[in-house]
Structure formats: structure tokens, C-alpha cells
């Protein structure tokens, strides 16, 4: 591709002799062929990247005015939104951005599960994605603790104590995480360090690996058939189109739609009915005053519901850990020949549909107090949650082998 450089003069040529800008564009954007049949579910990858960048940028400004420490954290957040110009916009964008990050990531994961994007040769792509998800959970948790509102405090209490259920080392481990016997100055300072330096770096590195792995194997598509297997005379996939300009332009439309929804929430319903910003967090952390219901933010509540569904806390914590990590094994649990749900039987469709519903119901249950009918429901849906992973190998092997089309389905507009 070095031909790109030749025959040009001036700055562009000077630059390209020193930095392969055109080469990179040719390799990664104009020369990268993606299936032409992406549907709207394929917006969420680029949107996740957008939210990540947005969190970094807003985070830089929040960090300028935030003062970690148990006596300064909460006050510094209140002061920045009231006294620093436009921080009333930037700080809520950062807080609400965390919720939108999970909305986008959950839809991105759901798409991979529908179209079998985790199946060979994309197992590692999926595993790297899951590592991003785990790092993101840690990042979001610490970010939630930092402003040190009352729900920050009690949420941190609950989550850190989960590590205490690990036999033998549990107690010592919780002290090691907190850096103290209770959640205080040491905890906030280390969470701040991890939240603004360590985890963003780890996530950025993993995102890079995710993209490199994606370029290596190529994108899957809603039909779940490999476009590389049908090449034209020019050696390009018949059903592929250059990522740039086609998908860059299409993704910008997705970005516009996403930002519109994001702006509506940020400007008009910032707390989102107490879901994106919880009412108890408008009170400073208070170790002697417990909020009425302690619940983590909505994106953790499916797992929280599983934790509380089990009477024994240690077993609950173990099930909770398994419920998060189970996703990692999907590439090997799914035994179907076909990738996409489009070419699988009714049983597979039902199994996945019920799982999606289960996830949302558990999310709702995690926000409710653990009493009465809610406990019973949490147990039923916890069972359904694990049933998905148990049944998947059998169901997918049985009804995921039908005929698939030769070429992707695409209707020109």
C-alpha cells in the first residue's frame, strides 16, 4: 500500500513519510470491508466507544474540581456544580454517562448473543469484550462511591463486604480493599486513583485489543455467515463494503440519535426518576443513617437480585460471581453450527428471549426490597437465569443446524 505515498508532494507526503497516516486509513477504514447487512443493533459498538471518550473528556473536567477524601469529596461535588461555570452540565453528563454506558454495552452484548458473534472465530473477541465489561463494572462502582453520598457509602459497604464472604481470606481482603477498617479517607483516595488512572488505562488497552481482534476476524452480521468465504474477482468480499465512508456515515446517524436521547435525559430528566441519580445520594455519607432501601445502581441490580435470592450470603455471593462470569463461556456453551438466531429453531429463540426477559426482571427485582413476593420471584428468575446457561449446549446442538443462505440478506434502498 506504499503506493499511496508516491506521487504526492507537500505536507501530506512529508507527513506520510514519517507517520503512516494514509496507510492506516487505507488499512483500517477504506480498506476494511464490513458486511453490508448490518442493522441498527450494530450501532452500539461505535456508541460504546463514543461514551467511553465522552466519559474521559467529562471526567478530566470533573477531576479538576473534585477533592477526594471523606470530608471533602461530597462538598467538592456540590461546589463544582454550583460555582464552576458549566460544571452543572459536565458533572451530570459524567454521572448519567455511566448509566448510558451500560445501556449501550448491554444492547451490544445482546446483539452478540442474538447473532452468535461470540462463536468461532470470534471467541477471543468476545472474551476481551467481557474483560472490558468487568473492568467497566469496577470503574463504575468506584465512580459511584467517589462523590460520597449516603448511597455511595452504603452501596460500597454492601459490595465490599461481598468479598468478605470468601472463605479464609475474606476479612483480610475487605480491609485490603478499603485500606482501613471502615470506608473512609484511605478508601476514597485509592478509589480515586484507580478510577482516574488505572482502570481507564486498562479499559483503553482492552478496547484497543477488542478492535485489533475485530479487524483480525472481521465483523459478524445478522445472518451469521462469513463474508470472507465469497470473494469477488478483485479479492474483496462480495457482501462487504468499505467501512469508510459507508459505516462511518451510518454510525454518525447512530451518534446523532444517541446524543439526542442523551441530551433529553441530561437536560430534562437528569435523575431519571431516581434511577440514574438516586435520592439518598443527595445526602452526604452517614455511617449511622441507613437509606430506606439499599440498592446498587440499576446496571448492577440483576446480579444483586441473584445475591439476595439465596438465604445463605456466601452461596449468594458465589452464585452472583458465577452469574457475571457465565457469559465468558458462551462461545463454548453454544454448540450450534449456525451463528445467527435467524437460522436456529424455535427452542433457541425462546431460550434467548426468556433469558433477555429474565435479565430485565431481575434488574427490576434488584431495585425492590427483598421481602414477600419479591423474594419468591427473585428465586424463580434466578433459576431461569442459570437454566439458560445449562440448557444452551443441548438446545443449540439440537436446533441450530438448519440451512443458511449463500449470501447475506440485504435489500437495497
Amino acid at each position: 500500500m506504499s503506493a499511496v505515498i508516491e506521487g504526492k508532494s507537500g505536507f501530506r507526503s512529508w507527513l506520510n513519510k514519517r507517520l503512516p497516516v494514509d496507510q492506516f486509513m487505507a488499512d483500517q477504514l477504506t480498506g476494511y470491508y464490513a458486511p453490508k447487512n448490518f442493522n441498527v443493533w450494530y450501532f452500539f459498538g461505535s456508541l460504546a466507544l463514543l461514551v467511553f471518550v465522552m466519559q474521559i473528556v467529562t471526567g478530566i473536567f470533573v477531576t479538576m474540581h473534585f477533592k477526594p477524601g471523606e470530608t471533602t469529596a461530597w462538598d467538592s461535588v456540590q461546589v463544582m456544580v454550583r460555582e464552576v461555570p458549566y460544571m452543572w452540565l459536565i458533572q451530570p453528563m459524567h454521572a448519567i454517562g455511566a448509566s448510558f454506558f451500560f445501556v449501550v454495552v448491554y444492547l451490544h452484548m445482546a446483539r452478540a448473543m442474538m447473532y452468535g458473534s461470540y462463536k468461532a472465530p470470534r471467541e477471543l473477541l468476545w472474551v476481551i469484550g467481557m474483560l472490558i465489561y468487568l473492568a467497566l463494572m469496577a470503574e463504575a462502582f468506584m465512580g459511584y462511591v467517589l462523590p460520597f453520598g449516603n448511597m455511595s457509602y452504603w452501596g460500597a459497604q454492601v459490595i465490599i463486604n461481598l468479598f468478605g464472604t470468601i472463605p479464609g481470606i475474606g476479612e483480610a481482603l475487605t480491609e485490603w480493599i478499603r485500606g482501613d477498617y471502615g470506608i473512609g479517607d484511605a478508601t476514597l483516595n485509592r478509589f480515586f486513583s484507580l478510577h482516574v488512572i488505572a482502570l481507564p488505562f486498562i479499559i483503553a488497552l482492552l478496547v484497543l485489543l477488542h478492535l485489533v481482534a475485530l479487524r483480525q476476524v472481521g465483523s459478524n452480521n445478522p445472518d451469521g455467515i462469513e463474508i470472507k468465504e465469497k470473494l469477488g474477482a478483485d479479492g474483496k468480499p462480495l457482501d462487504g463494503i468499505p467501512f469508510h465512508p459507508y459505516y462511518t456515515l451510518k454510525d454518525i446517524v447512530g451518534v446523532g440519535l444517541f446524543l439526542t436521547l442523551f441530551a433529553i435525559v441530561v437536560f430534562f430528566v437528569p435523575t431519571f426518576g431516581g434511577l440514574f441519580m438516586e435520592a439518598p445520594n443527595f445526602e452526604p455519607a452517614n455511617p449511622v443513617s441507613t437509606p430506606e432501601h439499599i440498592a446498587p445502581v440499576w446496571y448492577f441490580t440483576p446480579y444483586y437480585a441473584i445475591l439476595r435470592a439465596v438465604p445463605d450470603q456466601r452461596t449468594g455471593a458465589l452464585l452472583m460471581a458465577i452469574s457475571v462470569l457465565a457469559f465468558v463461556f458462551l462461545p463454548w456453551l453454544d454448540r450450534a453450527k449456525n451463528k445467527s438466531i435467524r437460522y436456529r429453531g424455535l427452542a433457541s429463540k425462546l431460550l434467548l428471549g426468556v433469558f433477555f426477559i429474565t435479565f430485565v426482571v431481575l434488574m427490576w427485582l434488584g431495585l425492590k426490597p427483598a421481602e414477600g413476593t419479591y423474594v419468591l420471584l427473585a428465586r424463580i428468575f434466578t433459576a431461569l437465569y442459570f437454566l439458560f446457561f445449562i440448557l444452551l449446549p443441548f438446545v443449540s446442538r439440537a436446533d441450530g443446524n438448519g440451512p443458511v443462505p449463500e449470501r447475506v440478506t440485504y435489500h437495497a434502498h
Partner: protein
């Protein structure tokens, strides 16, 4: 293609809509009312500020709100600000602190009166409205002589007694199943009856409280009006941007067969 964008919008709407359902907490007792306040109502905010500084700021601080910001947002001229708002001894740039030392407050009330900067965000305007309108005479069980339906056993005396008066609460006995199925008699609130009267009629007092709660809602999120004003333009811009981006995308995608 528009149907596809409709479907992505639907996907988002479903996620966000599910959220809205999650957030809805029901269960209102019959006596609870809505504050029905309006943050855009400037005269109401000004009256609320007056009420707050006259009756509340003796004990409660607004430690994140400066007199100067308050005057600016509520369009109170500088001379009136210095004359009516700023407490003697304070500068107009100071935060609104209570005049009561926390140590004394602890001794007098058993707990320091909380700062009210964010109370409208942690408790909500409706809760505040109900709290301030449901004090009743309880000379036997409370040291302050009053109790509160919204926050039973509150340490706060009825500071607004001179304005509202002190109503009496009427209770009725209810038979319920107690522990181990034994019948148990509990009392249930029925209604308020006029007791000691104050300077305002019940309707006027509701307005008085509504203004005060309105003011506290403004203090909890002082930028909310500015935010919504800017938000309309941002959303309009994004809609136009998305429309143009869609047309551009459509033009390019004509080539794809």
C-alpha cells in the same frame, strides 16, 4: 430505512421506558398531597426566600448557596439584597449559614438541624410540603408539644405555629391482625381539626408552604431553569444534525446493491 431508525429508537425507548417503570414507587397514604409548586414562578421563589430567611435560617443553613447567587437568580436588586437578605454581620458573598452553633443545637434538639441545600433533591418537594403541613398538637408525648404525620417523632418544633396555628389530629381505632394472628388495635389518622389558630387561613398557609418548598427546590438545583432553556436548543440542534447525517448517509448508500 426510517423504520430501522424507528426500531433503534424503540429499543432505546424500551430500555429507558423500563427504567421509568422501575423508578415509579407507588403507595400514598390518603392524607398525602402534592406540593404542586412551579420553579419557574419567580414571585413565588422570592416569597419563598423571604419565608426561609425569616423562619428557617435561624436553625437551618444553606451552606452551598450564597446570598449573591440567590439575589442574582431571583432578580432581587442589590440594595434590597443587602437590606433584606444578608444577615447583619454577613457579607453578600457569604454562604447562607444558620445563626445557631451546631454544638448548642445538639444540646437543645438532640440533633443538629440539617443543612437544607439539597433537601428538595433527597426528600422531594412533595415530602417537604407534607412535612410542613402535617404538624399537630401532641402535648403528652412530645417535648416540643407537637408531632408530625410525615416524620413522626421529629425533633423539630413547629416553627410556623404563629403562622399556621397548631391543628389537632383526629384518630380512629382500627382492628388489625397483630403478631401470631392476635387481634391488635392500632390508631389510624383520620383528619385534622382546627386547634390554636395562626395568622393565616389554611389556604393561605398552603400557599406559604408552597412558596417555601418552591424556593428549596430551586436551591437544590439552582441551574434547573437555565438547563432546560439551553436543553431545548441542544436537542433541536441534534435533531437537525441527525437529519442531515441521515440524508448524507442515504446519498452514499445508494451505491450499495
Amino acid at each position: 430505512m426510517p423504520t430501522k431508525f424507528a426500531s433503534v429508537a424503540t429499543a432505546f425507548a424500551l430500555v429507558l421506558g423500563a427504567g421509568a417503570v422501575f423508578a415509579n414507587e407507588g403507595g400514598h397514604a390518603g392524607w398525602q398531597r402534592e406540593a404542586d409548586n412551579e420553579v419557574a414562578n419567580l414571585p413565588s421563589l422570592q416569597r419563598g426566600a423571604r419565608n426561609f430567611l425569616a423562619y428557617c435560617s435561624g436553625c437551618h443553613s444553606l451552606r452551598f448557596m450564597r446570598y449573591s447567587r440567590l439575589a442574582q437568580d431571583l432578580k432581587i436588586p442589590d440594595d434590597q439584597r443587602d437590606k433584606y437578605l444578608v444577615r447583619p454581620g454577613d457579607k453578600f458573598t457569604d454562604y447562607i449559614r444558620s445563626s445557631m452553633p451546631a454544638k448548642d443545637a445538639n444540646e437543645w434538639f438532640g440533633r443538629a438541624p440539617p443543612d437544607l441545600s439539597l433537601v428538595a433533591r433527597s426528600r422531594g418537594a412533595d415530602w417537604l410540603f407534607n412535612f410542613l403541613t402535617t404538624f399537630y398538637a401532641d402535648p403528652t408525648s412530645r417535648q416540643t408539644g407537637v408531632n408530625n404525620l410525615t416524620l413522626p417523632g421529629t425533633a423539630m418544633p413547629h416553627v410556623l405555629a404563629s403562622v399556621q396555628g397548631v391543628p389537632n389530629a383526629v384518630w380512629r381505632n382500627v382492628e388489625t391482625a397483630g403478631p401470631e394472628g392476635k387481634p391488635m388495635t392500632t390508631r389510624e389518622f383520620e383528619k385534622f381539626e382546627p386547634g390554636v389558630t395562626g395568622s393565616l387561613s389554611p389556604e393561605q398557609y398552603d400557599e406559604f408552604v408552597r412558596d417555601t418548598v418552591n424556593f428549596l427546590q430551586y436551591v437544590g438545583d439552582p441551574t434547573q431553569l437555565e438547563r432546560e432553556g439551553l436543553g431545548i436548543w441542544v436537542v433541536l440542534f441534534l435533531l437537525v444534525f441527525t437529519g442531515i447525517a441521515y440524508l448524507l448517509k442515504k446519498e452514499y448508500w445508494k451505491d450499495v446493491r
